[in-house]
């Protein structure tokens, strides 16, 4: 692929001798949490080295694909409307995780989110109001002007300006331990393994979602049909090394964020655009041409994150969203045009489905729809009767050609398996106690708070708040060790 070739050799700094240097704090990772930890440690007076595994062109991990951060606030604050008090934030989190969360750490993240935006703005992060398509988040989430890549750029500029040393294409592969202390990191850099020393270490290198073998280990063969929505560089090496050295794991390897995306999506970095937003306007069938779940259960923004798992449980991990012309213009434009045909049978042919089977499914669905007042902005009364599974809302017969079909496959956003941390973001050992000079922030420890389920924008909240905590304590730890 031209992408990797084009970005390969340019971002290694030939003057940088990683083995000769000794920093107070070394941060493994290059996304939001890593950058926040590096900047915070620098504020505390520490010398800081940041090891980003990717080339410069792909820096920022999954943060480059993010868009907003969920923030607690008691009253309208900057771009945030209304109020989103701690109690409501916590209740939302407790609900989506089904209690699979550490309340103490969760409340720290929630409270931290109420004041951290000023700190972010000092480093050039800018916020904007939620606009079309995301209005339901205008109260709870602060949007980054230009999105996550603009945020990542601002942090990298600020880090360079503040004197943080940045090494690209520096993939941490192992940790050298002595007692409960990390002595050095083993880093692949410029084609060779380098030993990087420091007084304190922050692990902020993301989950393992880009690692095909690991996904297969967790999910079985079905994982071969997943696409990775984010970076190709979250191979989970740091996570694996930490677990191998006795860090206490948190969350299930099968837990994560997975949505249904267009089956034509690139294998990595498809990001936001590959989602298909017309599910609630039509029907979704599997490879056999059968419906398998209520497409109109709730508003799409509240349901889109369950469809990845739903599709993953279907044969071949594939499904087809089918709409008619009445749906056009009612959903965010898809990045790839759908297959179009003037009859259901012809559409089935184009999608590679059995035509009589799909015609039967559509006919049964159409016959089961009950007249109602269609309104996509509310939970309307257009529903099916006597059909299994039911479609609870927005059920209108598919009767207006041309018909459109989109093949869907599961898209992994991120994984929750991580390392257990304490309130100072220190990595805890499976055998009890904490590692003396090892802290963690971001996705690698988000599973402490988000063991299951998802709340839009909470990943950036955890990364930012615990990046601050880890950076501060790592700098203080380095000072004490000096």
């Amino acid at each position: 692929m031209r992408s990797t070739a084009a970005s390969g050799a340019t971002s290694i700094d030939a003057t940088l001798n990683l083995e000769a240097l000794e920093h107070d704090v070394v941060v493994a990772g290059g996304g939001n949490a890593a950058l926040v930890a590096a900047l915070t440690a620098r504020e505390e007076g520490a010398s800081v080295l940041l090891l980003e595994g990717s080339p410069m062109a792909w820096r920022g991990g999954n943060s480059q694909h993010t868009r907003n951060m969920r923030c607690m606030h008691e009253a309208p604050q900057g771009v945030l409307t209304g109020a989103y008090p701690e109690r409501e934030y916590w209740e939302d989190l407790a609900r989506v995780t089904g209690g699979d969360t550490d309340e103490h750490l969760a409340r720290m993240a929630i409270r931290g989110s109420s004041s951290v935006r000023d700190w972010m703005m000092r480093y050039g992060i800018r916020f904007q109001h939620a606009l079309g398509g995301t209005l339901h988040l205008s109260r709870t989430n602060a949007f980054f002007l230009g999105g996550g890549k603009a945020l990542v750029n601002a942090y990298y500029r600020a880090a360079a300006h503040a004197g943080v040393r940045i090494a690209y294409e520096s993939q941490v592969e192992d940790l050298e331990m002595e007692g409960g202390r990390v002595r050095a990191l083993v880093v692949r850099h410029g084609g060779a393994l380098k030993r990087v020393r420091a007084r304190a270490f922050v692990a902020a290198a993301g989950g393992f979602e880009s690692n095909r073998e690991w996904l297969r280990e967790a999910w079985g063969e079905v994982a071969d049909n997943f696409v990775v929505r984010g970076t190709r560089f979250n191979q989970g090496e740091v996570l694996r090394a930490l677990l191998a050295k006795g860090a206490q794991p948190v969350a299930d390897p099968k837990q994560g964020h997975m949505v249904a995306v267009d089956a034509r999506s690139p294998a990595y970095d498809g990001g936001i655009v590959t989602r298909v937003d017309c599910v609630s306007l039509g029907i979704v069938v599997n490879r056999e041409g059968e419906r398998f779940y209520d497409e109109g259960e709730d508003f799409w923004p509240k349901r889109y994150a369950i469809w990845g798992r739903l599709v993953a449980s279907q044969p071949g991990q594939v499904a087809y969203s089918i709409i008619d012309s009445k749906a056009l213009g009612r959903f965010m434009p898809p990045v790839f045009p759908g297959e179009a045909a003037d009859s259901i049978a012809a559409l089935a042919g184009k999608l590679g489905l059995d035509a009589p089977g799909l015609e039967r499914t559509v006919a049964r669905f159409n016959a089961a729809t009950r007249p109602g007042r269609f309104d996509h902005a509310v939970l309307d009364d257009c529903r099916t009767e006597g059909l299994e599974p039911v479609k609870s809302h927005w059920a209108r017969p598919l009767d207006t050609p041309p018909y459109y079909g989109f093949a869907l496959c599961p898209g992994v956003t991120f994984t929750y398996l991580g390392v257990k941390v304490d309130e100072r973001a220190r990595v805890l050992a499976a055998g009890g106690g904490a590692f003396a000079n090892l802290w963690a922030a971001g996705e690698i420890m988000a599973g402490n708070i988000l063991g299951r389920g998802y709340l839009a924008g909470i990943g950036m909240t955890i990364g930012t708040v615990f990046g601050r905590i880890a950076g501060m304590h790592a700098a203080q730890g380095a000072r004490a060790a000096a």
Binding site: R2, H65, R126, Q128, G148, A160
Partner: protein, 382 residues
Amino acid sequence: MTPIEALVEAARGDTERLHADTGRMMGICNSCRYCEGYCAVFQSMERRVAFDAPALDYLANLCHHCGACLYACQYAPPHEFGVDIPRSLARVRLATYETYAWPRAFGALYRRQGTFTGILLALALAAFLMAAARLAGPDGLFVAKAPAYSFYAIFPHGLMAALFGAAFGFALVAMTVSAVRFRRALGQGALAPLPAAVSAARLANLEGGGEGCYVRSGFEHPPTSRRRTMHHFTFYGFALCFASTVLATFEHYALGLKAPYPLTSAVVLLGTVGGAALIVGTSHLLVLRRQRDPRLSDPAQATLDTTFLWMLLLVSATGILLMVLRDTAALGVALAVHLGFVMAFFLAMPYGKFMHGIYRYLALARHERERREPNPYGFSEG
């Protein structure tokens, strides 16, 4: 097919490919929308689902080329989607200049800007110097006209008014026809001239959503307000010079006050301040252009931009020089040189970078109106 027809056909093919590829990118942008806070381009994009040639011409001319959306883009190269909005819209802009030029064949001049302006300038300078030498009479061009200097002693007022009236009149007609053609391409929708004027006067869309505009690579350097500030110097400098000319015309015909005007007169002050601002603005813009991240620019338009900036700079510099030398024996030469530059500038206006202001203003006028109307594609969130 004749060779010329073949060339025209090839150019049309290029434009079609350009529109197709830019439309493909806009489709990706419209699914993403992370850049919607930056500028009018993305806000107008969200009111559309199809990006045909007229829609792209409109969006391209809304773009003020701040560069923010390239650095913020998760789909920019090396991503396989290859989304490259600043440069692609710049290319579309050039295609619109060519398409809407009048006469149409003169659209080709945009890509030959150096040669075109160079020839115009050489001809104009030669003509004015020779005319000045001839009109100066047997005493020669370098004899100071006693007792008082006078432009009109060298070039009679009637002659100047006729020549420049004709040149400016032609430019005005050509620019108006182009503007009308572009206006038609914008569709049936109404315009909002006043809010567009405010937006243009502030260069609101060069602010990158409030953070500024990129000169050097945004991966390493923060946005700045320098391009916007220097464009203000250039634009308002030009406006002051224009005001000076209008005022002089008014004083001449309505009040019977004849040039030269005293150094403390409004005409001279407006012209001097305007000329100085133009020199500051254009020279800085030339420097900023050289510093600019090459990822943002269309190399095919380098001379289009620099020629315009150099012409504005030299028109101002020769104007100020003329004011300085007007009591000396060099008056005749200085006047001829300045008039040569002004004449070439006028004639080049409809086929050079000056047109960006007209198309952009019209695009803004449509945008400002459009954003006050309900979005036909305001997607419900269900």
